[in-house]
C-alpha cells in the first residue's frame, strides 16, 4: 500500500469544521492518518480543493430493475458509447449506463460510495452481482419493505417485536444496509388494481394504512438502532398537490424516538417528486416552500432532492401504480411493470424532461428551491434520483446552479415561464460556498446514512479523497459557474482506500469496492419469534427458504456494520 501527502490544498471537511483551510492531508494504510507517513509520495495540490470522497445516498445503479431499464432502452445506449481504453472496459450510457461505466463516471467526479435504494428482497442476488461488476465504488442496498406481506401482517396485528425480528432477518438475508419504503401500501394495492391516495386509506385484504406502515417501520428501525433511518418514497409521488401527504407523512413519525446518535427518524427521498402544489396539471405549482418550512422547523426528517435535468431520463421505481399512471401520461410509451411475489412491485417508463413543458420547468425549479431554502444543509443531500430525474453525472451542473445565481438565471431564461410564475426560484439569492457544497455531496450524506469513517478527512477515516482543480482564492464561484462545473466533472485526483483511482479526470485503477451492510447482533435471539411464520408464509414463495438468503460469496469485499 502506498502512502501519500496531499500538500497545500484548500481542504473542505465540514464534519471536522475545516473550511477551505490550507493544510496537508496524510494517507497511509488505506486510511487518513494524523502524522506524515514515512516514505510517502508527496503530491502538490496547492491551488486545488480537497474534499472527502463523494457519497450518493440514492442512485439506481444495480439490480433487476436497472437491468430491465437497460434492455428497454437500446436507443439510450446508442447515443452514448464509451470505447475500451487501456484496462477500462467499453460500455454505454446514457440514462442507464452499464455497471462499469457507472463506476468510472462516479469515480471521475470524485465519488467513492453509492447506495442503490431499491432492492426487492427476492432479487437481492442480482443487485449484489451488479455491485461486484461496478468498479471502484463502495456500495450498499436498501431493502424494499413497505408492501411486504410479512410487514403488512405484523403491522395489522400490531406485533412490533416480530416486525423487528423480521426486518433484522431481512437485512441479513439480503445483505442490505437500510430499510426502504416505496408508496407504502400502494404497491400492494396495485396488485388488486388499486392504489392508496390518503395516509389513512386501507390496503385491500390487509386492512392497514400507509400511516400505520410508516410509523411501525420507523419505530422498529429505531428500536433496532439501524445506522440509517427508514428511507421513504412517499405516497402520491408525481401527483399535483402531493406536498400535503408528504408533510402528513413527516408529521406521522414526529413523536418516534430516534436511536442513539441521531435526531432524525425518517429520510424522505427524491422529495422534489413529492413537493407539488396545485390540484391538477393545469394549476400545477411548487410546494417547495411548505416542505422547506417544515424541514426547517423539525429535526426528525432529512431529505434528498431528485433534481430534474432536462433531456432524457428513465423512470424506474418499485412504485408500480405510479409507473402505470406515467405510462398513461406519456400516451402509451413503452414500459415495464412487474410484481415481485409477496414483496413489492416495479415499473419502468422512459421520460423526457423538456424546458418548454410548464410542468417540467416547475419540477426543475422545485429541486433547486428546496436546496436553497433549507437552512441546515445537514438535512439535505444532492441527488437526481438517477436515472429518474436525470443521470447522476449531471451533479457538477447542479453544483454550478447552487453556487451561482447567474447560472440559475441563465437556465431560468431558457425554460418555460411557469418556472418563474409557479415557484420562488427567481427570488432566491442564496449561493453555496464550497463548504456547503461539501456538506450536500458528502458530509450530510455520511451523517444521514450513519457512516462513521466516510464523508470526512479526520484520522481513521477511509482514504477516500477527491481533489478538484479549482482555486477558491482565485475563482469567484458565483461569476464563473462553468469553471465549477468543469472542476467537479473531472477530479484532479480521486483516492479510493488510499490509492489513486482517478488522475486528471481519467480512471487509472479499478479496485473492487466494499459492500456495506447491516447485521443486527441479536438476530439469533430474535429468530424464534418468526421462525414459524417464515415456514408458514413460505408456502407462497416460488423458491425455498433455504435458497433465499444471499450467501457471502456474493460479497467479495464485505463491510459488515453490527448494531
Amino acid at each position: 500500500m502506498n502512502a501519500y501527502v496531499l500538500k497545500g490544498g484548500h481542504v473542505y471537511d465540514p464534519l471536522n469544521n475545516i473550511d477551505g483551510e490550507k493544510m496537508d492531508i496524510y494517507i497511509a494504510g488505506g486510511k487518513i492518518v494524523e502524522e506524515p507517513p514515512k516514505g510517502a509520495k508527496v503530491i502538490d495540490v496547492s491551488g486545488k480543493v480537497v474534499m472527502p470522497g463523494g457519497i450518493c445516498i440514492h442512485s439506481h445503479i444495480a439490480g433487476g430493475k436497472v437491468n430491465s431499464g437497460r434492455m428497454l432502452r437500446p436507443e439510450d445506449h446508442r447515443r452514448d458509447n464509451i470505447p475500451k481504453k487501456g484496462q477500462l472496459r467499453s460500455g454505454v450510457g446514457y440514462t442507464v449506463p452499464t455497471t462499469f461505466v457507472t463506476g468510472y463516471r462516479f469515480a471521475a467526479m470524485g465519488y467513492t460510495t453509492v447506495f442503490e435504494p431499491a432492492v426487492p428482497p427476492l432479487k437481492a442476488r442480482h443487485t449484489h452481482e451488479e455491485f461486484q461488476d461496478t468498479p471502484i465504488l463502495d456500495h450498499g442496498g436498501f431493502v424494499l419493505t413497505g408492501n411486504n406481506w410479512f410487514v403488512l401482517n405484523y403491522v395489522k396485528n400490531n406485533e412490533m417485536d416480530k416486525l423487528a425480528a423480521f426486518i433484522a432477518w431481512l437485512l441479513w438475508a439480503t445483505k442490505c444496509y437500510a430499510v426502504k419504503i416505496v408508496n407504502p401500501g400502494g404497491v400492494e394495492s396495485w396488485g388488486w388494481g388499486k392504489n392508496v391516495n390518503g395516509l389513512d386509506d386501507k390496503v385491500p385484504y390487509f386492512d392497514v394504512t400507509p400511516r400505520e406502515i410508516v410509523t411501525a417501520l420507523s419505530y422498529v428501525n429505531e428500536k433496532l438502532g439501524l445506522p440509517h433511518t427508514i428511507h421513504v418514497h412517499g405516497n402520491n409521488l408525481g401527483q399535483p398537490g402531493n406536498y400535503e401527504i408528504t408533510l402528513e407523512t413527516m408529521e406521522a413519525v414526529r413523536e418516534i424516538k430516534a436511536s442513539k446518535g441521531r435526531r432524525s427518524v425518517l429520510h424522505f427521498t427524491h422529495i422534489q417528486f413529492n413537493a407539488y402544489a396545485g390540484t391538477s396539471w393545469k394549476d400545477f405549482a411548487s410546494g417547495a416552500q411548505e416542505i422547506a418550512n417544515y424541514v426547517n422547523k423539525h429535526d426528525h426528517v432529512t431529505i434528498d432532492i431528485g433534481q430534474v435535468i432536462f433531456g432524457d431520463a428513465t423512470t424506474m421505481t418499485a412504485d408500480g401504480p405510479w409507473e402505470f399512471a406515467l405510462r398513461q401520461i406519456t400516451r402509451g410509451n413503452k414500459w415495464v411493470n412487474s410484481d415481485v411475489e409477496l414483496e413489492t412491485g416495479s415499473g419502468i417508463v422512459p421520460y423526457v424532461f423538456r424546458r418548454t413543458v410548464p410542468v417540467n420547468a416547475v419540477q426543475w425549479a422545485i429541486g433547486l428551491e428546496l436546496m436553497l431554502s433549507v437552512n441546515d444543509l445537514y438535512k439535505v443531500c444532492l441527488t437526481t434520483d438517477h436515472p429518474n430525474g436525470g443521470p447522476f453525472y449531471f451533479y457538477p451542473k447542479i453544483i454550478s446552479w447552487l453556487v451561482s445565481r447567474k447560472a440559475r438565471n441563465e437556465e431560468l431564461e431558457k425554460v418555460h415561464k411557469a418556472a418563474i410564475e409557479k415557484t420562488t426560484l427567481k427570488d432566491l439569492d442564496k449561493e453555496y460556498n464550497l463548504y456547503e457544497v461539501a456538506i450536500v455531496t458528502r458530509a450530510a450524506q455520511a451523517k444521514i446514512l450513519g457512516l462513521k469513517d466516510r464523508g470526512h478527512l479526520g484520522p481513521g477515516a477511509k482514504g477516500d479523497v477527491a481533489v478538484y482543480d479549482i482555486d477558491p482564492t482565485k475563482v469567484n464561484l458565483s461569476s464563473s459557474p462553468e469553471l465549477v462545473e468543469k472542476a467537479f466533472s473531472a477530479a484532479a485526483y480521486t483516492f479510493k482506500d488510499g490509492e489513486i483511482v482517478v488522475k486528471d479526470g481519467e480512471v487509472i485503477a479499478t479496485p473492487q469496492g466494499s459492500t456495506i451492510w447491516v447485521k443486527v447482533k441479536k438476530l439469533e435471539e430474535m429468530m424464534p419469534l418468526i421462525e414459524e411464520d417464515l415456514k408458514e408464509m413460505w408456502k407462497h414463495y416460488t423458491i425455498s427458504l433455504n435458497n433465499y438468503p444471499v450467501q457471502m460469496e456474493y460479497l467479495p469485499k464485505s463491510e459488515m456494520v453490527e448494531v
Binding site: 428497454l72 432502452r73 437500446p74 436507443e75 439510450d76 446508442r78 470505447p83 475500451k84 413503452k334
Partner: protein, 273 residues
C-alpha cells in the same frame, strides 16, 4: 461549389465505420484536414487518408459540398450518416447504414446498398440504383424509423432494384419507393408515411402497423389475417403520384387496433379475397 473525390486504396478485412464522410464534416476543411479525420476499423482508429486517396476541394458550407466515392465502398459503413445538406455520389456498392438518420441533402448509390440504408431518416433523398438490404428506412432498436424533420418535411428513399426484409420498420413519416420486390415484414410497426412497392412482396406486410399507407403493385404472397377487407378503389394517389388500379383495400393491423391502409393491385392479388 466544392467537390471531394475519395478513391478506396484497398479492401480491408474489417469494415470501416466512416460517418465522417459527410458534407457537414468536410465543408470548410482543407484536404489535409479531411485526410486526418478519424474512422474506426474494428476497435482501432485509422485516418481517412489511410483508407482513401483524396482529391478535390470541399465547399465552404455543407450545401456547397459534393463528395464522390469512386469504386467499391461495400466495406465502408455509415457514409452520409446524419448529413443535413450537400450531395454524396457513390459510384459502386456501399456498406451498411448509408444515409442513416439523414436530415437533408442527397445521396445517390449507383450500385447496391447494404442493410439499414436510410434508417431513421428525417429528411433528404436517398436514391439507390441497385438493390437494398434489410431494414431499408427502418429503425434502430428502441427508436422509431423514418419520421418528419418538421411538419411536411420528410425523407424519400427510392430503390430501383429489390429490397430485403423489414423495409420501413417503425416508420412514422416519409416515403419509400421500391421499383422491384421486397422481403417479409414491409412496414412492420409503421404508424405513418408511405411505402410503394412496384414488384412483389413477401408475407406479413404491415404487421402491427397502426397508420400509414402501403401500396403493392405486384403480388403479395400472403396477407395477415388481422387485416379487414374494405372494398375496391380505382386509383391511389400519393403526393400527386397516381397509380392506376383497381386496388383491393385493407385496413389493419387490427391486432394493434391499427388504422393503416394496404392497397393491393387487384389483378395480381385476387388470391387474397
Amino acid at each position: 461549389m466544392g467537390k471531394v473525390e475519395l478513391t478506396p486504396i484497398e479492401k480491408p478485412h474489417i469494415p470501416i465505420e466512416a460517418e465522417v464522410i459527410s458534407p457537414d464534416i468536410f465543408a470548410g476543411k482543407s484536404l489535409e484536414e479531411i485526410g486526418d479525420l478519424e474512422v474506426w476499423r474494428g476497435n482501432r482508429k485509422k485516418k481517412l487518408k489511410e483508407v482513401f486517396k483524396i482529391s478535390g476541394d470541399a465547399g465552404k458550407t455543407p450545401g456547397e459540398t459534393t463528395i464522390i466515392v469512386n469504386g467499391d465502398a461495400s466495406f465502408i459503413k455509415r457514409i452520409g450518416q446524419g448529413m443535413t445538406a450537400g450531395e454524396i455520389l457513390i459510384k459502386g456498392n456501399v456498406g451498411m447504414h448509408v444515409g442513416a438518420e439523414m436530415r437533408g441533402g442527397k445521396i445517390v448509390v449507383e450500385g447496391n446498398a447494404d442493410h439499414w440504408a436510410g434508417a431513421g431518416m428525417k429528411a433528404g433523398i436517398l436514391h439507390i440504383k441497385g438493390n437494398a438490404g434489410n431494414y431499408l428506412g427502418g429503425n434502430y432498436r428502441g427508436d422509431i424509423g423514418m419520421s418528419a424533420l418538421q411538419k411536411g418535411v420528410y425523407g424519400t428513399i427510392i430503390v430501383e432494384g429489390n429490397a430485403g426484409d423489414e423495409v420501413g420498420a417503425w416508420m412514422a413519416d416519409g416515403k419509400i419507393i421500391i421499383k422491384g420486390n421486397v422481403g417479409a415484414f414491409a412496414g412492420v410497426h409503421m404508424s405513418g408515411g408511405n411505402i410503394i412497392v412496384y414488384g412483389d412482396a413477401a408475407e406479413r406486410v404491415g404487421g402491427e402497423m397502426k397508420g400509414g399507407t402501403i401500396v403493392i403493385m405486384g403480388q403479395l404472397s400472403e396477407l395477415l389475417p388481422s387485416f379487414e377487407y374494405k372494398g375496391e378503389v380505382n386509383e391511389v394517389s400519393i403526393d400527386g403520384e397516381k397509380m392506376l388500379g383497381p386496388f383491393l383495400t385493407f385496413v389493419g393491423d387490427l391486432a394493434e387496433d391499427g388504422k393503416g391502409t394496404l392497397y393491393l393491385l387487384k389483378e395480381k392479388n385476387a388470391h387474397l379475397i
